[in-house]
Amino acid sequence: MTAATDPRVDTRITEDPLPPLEPDDSRVKLGAELLFHGRVRDEEEGRPIVALEYERYEGLAEKELERVALDTVERFPIDQLVCWHRIGRVGVGEASLRVVVWSCHRVEGLEAMAWFISSLKHRVPIWKWAVTADGERFPSTCGHDENGPEGDHGTHAH
């Protein structure tokens, strides 16, 4: 887990389940609060699964996640970005990723959210292993190379 030094970003990588998001009514100048949860689907590469196990390159993953968040707040006029990413075993239906973006208006927030998530998927050294009901564990083969948000999958996006 790492705490960002720029108050505009809060990035963490944690083995713990994501806590409930507490309502915050104090941001009186910010009209848009966007919340994204990435959740584990019940299949991977067409096979039914019971969980994903996320692994990360400890040290670099934390640094790069923070850098992606900082790049986002530099690129888009948003007020704050929070991103927590779980690692370890995450059961089907559970959230592996939470991103919250606050901005004055919705447009910049929506654009920042999309760009941040796509950049995270391409840049942060995190990988996932699928776990089946009979205990088999296999590495996912579906990944994102370094071409960045503009070079995403041609036929599908996730």
């Binding site: 670099l60 990723l97 998927k121 942060v124 050294p125 083969t141 990944g143 190379d145 996730h158």
Partner: protein, 84 residues
């Protein structure tokens, strides 16, 4: 005979699956680059994994393949990332 150094490859995802271990110490001649370590690693991998694009990191920071390695370095060849 060339002086040798030992570096540790840290393996993830499909690389880890096929190497069968998270850590793989390898010996290289003094003055070897990350690219030399990559050639060693890829020679141990099946064709479909060898063909993956991989980013390079040395000691927890992204690096170029031309980076000259030192004894004890931690070197990672990262298959396409899968966070989210």
């Amino acid at each position: 005979m060339a002086e040798m150094i030992t570096v540790t490859l840290v393996c993830f995802s499909q690389v880890r699956h096929h190497i069968g271990s998270h850590l793989l110490p390898i010996e290289l001649p003094l003055g070897s680059t990350a690219g030399d370590a990559e050639a060693d690693l890829r020679s141990r991998l099946p064709e479909h994994v060898r063909a993956l694009p991989m980013r390079v990191a040395v000691n927890q920071e992204f690096a170029e393949r031309s980076a000259v390695l030192q004894a004890g370095d931690e070197v990672v060849f990262m298959p396409p990332m899968q966070g989210g």
